[in-house]
C-alpha cells in the first residue's frame, strides 16, 4: 500500500495539476475571506468554509480523476493488478494520496483564520471551537467527496469523463437534502438523514456530533468498498 501511496503522491506533485488546484483554491478562499470576513466584517470563518464547500464539488473530481483511469489508459493497471498486493491496498493507497492533496488545500486556508486572530480588538473573542468544528466538517465532507471521485475514476479510462461523472454524482448528492425536504413523510426524512450536507451544519455551528462523524466516515468507507468491488469485478468479467 505504501508503494502505491508514495508513487501516486509523487505523481501528483511532479505534474503541475496539484499545484494549480491548490493555488486556484487558495485564490478562491482569499476572495471569499475578503468578501465575508473582511468586507462584511464577520467573525465567522465557518461561513467562508461553508461557501467553499460548493467549490469542492468541482475541485475534488479534478483531483481524483486520474487515480484509476490513468492506469487503465496507459496499461499500468496490469502492473498493479498482477503485483502481489490485494486490490483494497491499491485503492486505499491511491485514495490516501488524494487525501494528502486535499489536506494541503485545507491547510492553506488556515492562513485566513490566523490573520483574523491578529485583528480582533475591543474585547472580541475569536470563536475557536466553532472554527475547529467548521474545519472538521469541511475535512470530513472532503473525504466523502474524494471517495466519490475515486469511484468515478474507477468506472472509465478517460480522465475527463471521470471528472465530469464525479461532478454529476456530487451535484446529485448535494440535492438529496433539498429533495428530502420537499418530499413528505418518512422517505423525505430518510433522504435528509442520508444527505451529507444536512450533517455539515452541526459541526460548523460548533456542535461535535459523533453520529455525523461516523456517518461521514461510513459513507467514505462504503463508497471505497464499492470502488474496490468495481475494480475486482473486472477480474471476473
Amino acid at each position: 500500500m505504501e508503494a502505491v501511496f508514495k508513487r501516486e503522491l509523487q505523481s501528483y506533485f511532479k505534474s503541475p495539476v496539484a499545484y494549480c488546484i491548490i493555488a486556484f483554491f487558495g485564490v478562491l478562499t482569499g476572495l471569499y475571506f475578503w468578501n465575508i470576513n473582511l468586507y462584511n466584517q464577520s467573525i465567522e470563518f465557518t461561513m467562508t468554509l461553508g461557501s467553499l464547500t460548493t467549490f469542492l464539488i468541482f475541485f475534488i473530481p479534478v483531483i481524483t480523476m486520474k487515480l484509476f483511469s490513468e492506469d487503465r489508459k496507459n496499461g499500468t493497471e496490469v502492473l498493479l493488478r498482477t503485483a502481489p498486493i490485494p486490490t483494497w491496498k491499491i485503492v486505499l493507497g491511491k485514495y490516501l494520496a488524494s487525501v494528502v492533496v486535499f489536506t494541503c488545500m485545507c491547510v492553506e486556508t488556515m492562513v485566513c483564520p490566523i490573520i483574523m486572530t491578529f485583528y480582533i480588538n475591543d474585547g472580541g473573542v475569536f470563536p475557536l471551537a466553532m472554527t475547529v468544528g467548521g474545519y472538521v466538517a469541511f475535512f470530513l465532507l472532503g473525504l466523502a467527496y474524494l471517495s466519490v471521485g475515486a469511484f468515478a475514476s474507477s468506472v472509465t479510462d478517460s480522465q475527463p469523463i471521470a471528472a465530469v461523472l464525479g461532478v454529476i454524482i456530487l451535484i446529485g448528492i448535494t440535492f438529496i437534502e433539498t429533495i428530502g425536504q420537499t418530499v413528505k413523510g418518512v422517505f423525505g426524512q430518510i433522504l435528509v438523514w442520508l444527505s451529507l450536507s444536512s450533517r455539515y451544519d452541526d459541526f460548523s455551528s460548533g456542535v461535535f456530533n459523533v453520529s455525523s462523524l461516523i456517518y461521514y466516515l461510513s459513507f467514505t468507507a462504503v463508497v471505497l468498498f464499492i470502488t474496490i468491488t468495481n475494480i475486482e469485478r473486472k477480474r471476473w468479467s
Partner: protein, 316 residues
Amino acid sequence: MIEIRNLVKNYGRVTALDDVSFDVNKGSILGFLGPNGAGKSTAMNIITGYMAPTSGDITVNGIDAVEKSLEARKMIGYLPELPPLYGEMTVTEYLNFICDLKGVPQRKRKNMLSDIMFIVNIVDVRNRLVRNLSKGYRQRVGFAQALVGEPPILILDEPTVGLDPGQVIEFRKIITTLGREKTIILSTHILQEVTAVCSDVVIINHGKVARAGALSEFTASVPGEKRYVLTFDTSDKGAAENILRSSSWIKSYSFSRTERNSLIYRISADSRSEGIRELFFAAAQAGIALLEIKAVEKSLEEEFVSIITKDAQEGA
C-alpha cells in the same frame, strides 16, 4: 511448474478460451503460438492473475493460482504486450517502485537492480525519464520490471514486437540466458523466434490448444519418412520424372521449379539410406546428372500453417 487444466474464459457470449490444458515444465522455455485473437493474451492474463477464468484450474509451482492468486503472483514476472511504465519516473525510480510493489527488502535491492539493469542493458539510461526513452529501451525497462523480485517464472507477451533486428537478437539472447534458470512462457507469432529460443511449443487457435509438444517433435519428420530436394541437370521434365517413377524408394514427388536449365523436385521417401544410391545410379544410367541431393527437415512454419489452415477449412 505451471499446470493448466480445462481452462475456459467467456467474455459475455464470446468464448476466448475453450477447455485449454497444457503443462509448462520447470526450466523450459515454452513458445506460445497462435494467430492474432487466438486467445494468447487472455491465457497469459489468467495465469498472471489479472483475470480470473470462467472455469478451470491453474497451478503455479504447486499453488492454486485462482484461489491463492496473491501467492502465485509472487512466483511470476510478467511483461505484458504494452510495457506497463510510468512516464514521469526515471528508470531507477520506476524499478524502485516495482521493488516496493513486490515487497523486495531494502538490503537486497541495490545488488538486484544493478544485476537486472546489466542483464537488460539499461545501465546508461538509469537516470533518464521513462517517457523520453525509445521504444527499444522502454521494452527493456518493461523486461527489467518483470525480473524484479527474482521470480522463478517469466511470462513474456510478444516481447520483441517493434524492436529493430539487432535488438531482437539481443532480446533472444537474454531470454535464452534467463531460460537456464527460469521457466519462461514466450508468447509470439514470430516462428523463427520459437525455433531460436524455445524448447517446447503450444499452438493455440480459436481458443483451443491445436498442438502441444517439444519443439523437436514439431520439426522432426513423420516416422519412417524423409524428405529431400533433388536437382537434375536437365530441362527435360519427362526424363526426370521417369527416373523418379522408376524408384521404389520414392513415395511421392512434386515439381518445385526450374533453375538455369536444371529441374528441382521435392520428394518424400522412406528412410532406407541405400535408396539414394539407387536413385543416383538410375539417373546416371539415363544420362542425367544429379547435381544436388538435400535432406530437408519439416519446419515449424509448415506445421503452424497447416494447423491454422486446417482449422479455417473445418470452420468453413
